[in-house]
């Protein structure tokens, strides 16, 4: 990974998520009223609009909902990574999140493939949740 990779600008909604990822956990909001998880983290639940939310450590398991193999990089920061797989992961708990699939063989990635989170440190503050096929 190039050192120029853009890093997230953390805000009050996302701080607990990024802090947990940095500590090796996948924490996403869980609604105390409707009982549903959501992602990305918000101040109100996008399902029932309650603000009774708490971060919950989830399994880190899910499946590939869809993906693309980038044959051209999204800017110079990603030039060394090509070809790379950007995917939408559907977590076991329901929400979808974007991430990378770490693989030596992008052609093996397919919709429905089972995946598991792996944490990759990018800076002193930021650790990304990537996924590998299981």
């Amino acid at each position: 990974m190039s050192t120029e990779q853009p890093l997230p600008v953390i805000d009050h909604d996302s701080a607990p998520y990024w802090q947990a990822a940095h500590e090796g956990r996948l924490d996403i909001p869980l609604c105390g009223d409707c009982g549903k998880h959501h992602f990305y983290p918000r101040a109100i639940c996008p399902h029932c609009h309650s603000d009774n939310l708490n971060f919950d450590t989830v399994s880190g398991r899910g499946e590939v909902h869809t993906f693309t193999i980038a044959r051209r990089p999204a800017g110079p920061a990603f030039a060394d990574d090509v070809p790379y797989v950007v995917a939408l992961i559907e977590l076991e708990e329901g929400p979808r999140m974007m991430s990378r699939i770490q693989t030596d063989d992008p052609e093996k990635v397919h919709i429905g493939a089972k995946v598991e989170v792996t944490f990759v440190k990018a800076s002193d503050e930021i650790t990304f949740p990537y996924f590998t096929m299981t």
């Binding site: 600008v9 992602f39 044959r71 990089p73 800017g75 950007v86 939408l88 999140m97 974007m98 990304f128």
Partner: protein, 390 residues
């Protein structure tokens, strides 16, 4: 029932481009002003008659373009009393027609001017890959998501998985659209194109190839709307705005409710067709946003021209090409005519020209009712307009 305040389109103009670049030497706002002036003058009006101004500019963002109507009004030297800077991406202009129609019916304005201009090709500035990694994009940009193509690729991948749609199906759209471009002297790409050419073009973001993607060009266009009553004294034959609808669902692609189904188009299309009292079988000519080939396929399904999942079959056999059963994107579309960042206004211009019957070699015989559908963002927003020959 007809009403004197029913909204109509009475003026049009677009800027000449060659090799995808503006021919005239003027700034991006200069091109906006030149097409605005041409469009009002075509109708027999002047810029001083304009009291409604609608635009979605991206001029020097985060600079002046942040307040697009204000910037443009100043440049034109006018003081509009109805403004709308709705920006929902490339579909903004279909939404502008809807909003202008409501303002005209309400008596809130008399002459509405909708304008777009971009010199992105001349500036070589087309790169949305650097979306700042803030708010929802902090969960997208760091992963190297190629934007906007990556989101469309993910939708195509999902459609292929669920319905067995193929790259050949998508290529059929690019090829048929090129055939229309070959009939349009103003189109940028007019060289022959085959399904094999599309399939063997460079892979950009799987499963989308280079020739599944729209062009990057300059472009400027303007539309003038007024009431049916006012149009009686004007030079052009008015085209009636019979129905409109709009919707959006997401910005980040991970938030798209169903990646194989274009809900904004379904909702906007239903609303617009119900208002106009038409169904898909009543439409003579269709102009739909073709940022990518998959955009067209998802849009045709969502608007009800075929069943969900059957878009691949629907577009095969060059059905949408000149001479085919389903005339679509008759100027050569964003894929082959022009695509200056946001393309929606050009869909409206082409549909209106078809209903005026001035399209020469590419004229669809007997075109009386047209459907225009814009898509913006990353399959984020949709806005439909139904136009009818008066």
């Amino acid at each position: 029932m007809k009403n004197g305040r029913d909204p109509v389109i009475v003026g049009l103009a677009d800027a000449p481009i060659e090799g995808g670049k503006f021919v005239t030497k003027a700034s991006v706002l200069g091109h906006a002003a030149l097409v605005a002036k041409a469009a009002v003058e075509e109708a027999g009006l002047t810029l001083d008659d304009v009291d409604g101004l609608l635009t979605a500019g991206m001029w020097g963002v985060p600079g002046p373009g942040q307040l697009a109507t204000v910037t443009l009004g100043e440049y034109l030297g006018i003081m509009p009393t109805y403004v709308d800077g709705t920006n929902i991406g490339g579909s903004a202009f279909e939404a502008h027609v809807a909003h202008a129609a409501m303002a005209l019916r309400e008596g809130y304005c008399e002459v509405a001017l909708i304008v777009y201009s971009s010199d992105q090709k001349s500036l070589r500035s087309r790169n949305l890959g650097g979306r700042p990694s803030v708010l929802s994009m902090q969960h997208e940009t760091p992963y190297g998501m190629p934007t906007p193509v990556g989101g469309y690729a993910m939708a195509a991948q999902r459609h292929m998985h669920e319905y067995g749609t193929t790259s050949e199906n998508l290529a059929e759209i690019a090829v048929a659209t090129r055939k229309w471009a070959q009939l349009n002297p103003a189109a940028t790409r007019r060289d022959p194109l085959t399904v094999d050419d599309v399939m063997s073009s460079t892979m950009i973001s799987e499963p989308l190839h280079l020739l599944d993607c729209c062009l990057v060009t300059d472009g400027a266009g303007a539309i003038v709307m007024t009431t049916a009553e006012r149009a009686k004294d004007l030079r052009t034959k008015p085209v009636a705005v019979k129905g409109y609808g709009e919707a959006h669902t997401h910005w980040a692609i991970a938030e798209m409710p169903d990646l194989a189904r274009l809900l904004p188009a379904q909702k906007a299309g239903e609303t617009a067709m119900k208002m106009a009292g038409v169904s898909p079988s009543d439409i003579d000519v269709v102009e739909v946003y073709d940022s990518f080939t998959i955009t067209v396929l998802l849009t045709l399904e969502a608007l009800g021209f075929c069943k969900i999942g059957e878009g691949g079959d629907f577009v095969s056999g060059q059905r949408t090409a000149p001479g085919g059963a389903f005339p679509m994107n008759t100027n050569g579309g964003g894929l082959s005519a022009l695509h200056p960042g946001m393309y929606g206004i050009f869909l409206l211009i082409e549909a209106t020209r078809q209903l005026r019957g001035v399209c020469g070699d590419r004229q669809v015989a007997g075109a009386e009712t047209a459907l225009v559908h814009g898509t913006g963002g990353t399959l984020s927003s949709g806005a439909t307009v139904i136009l009818q020959k008066d």
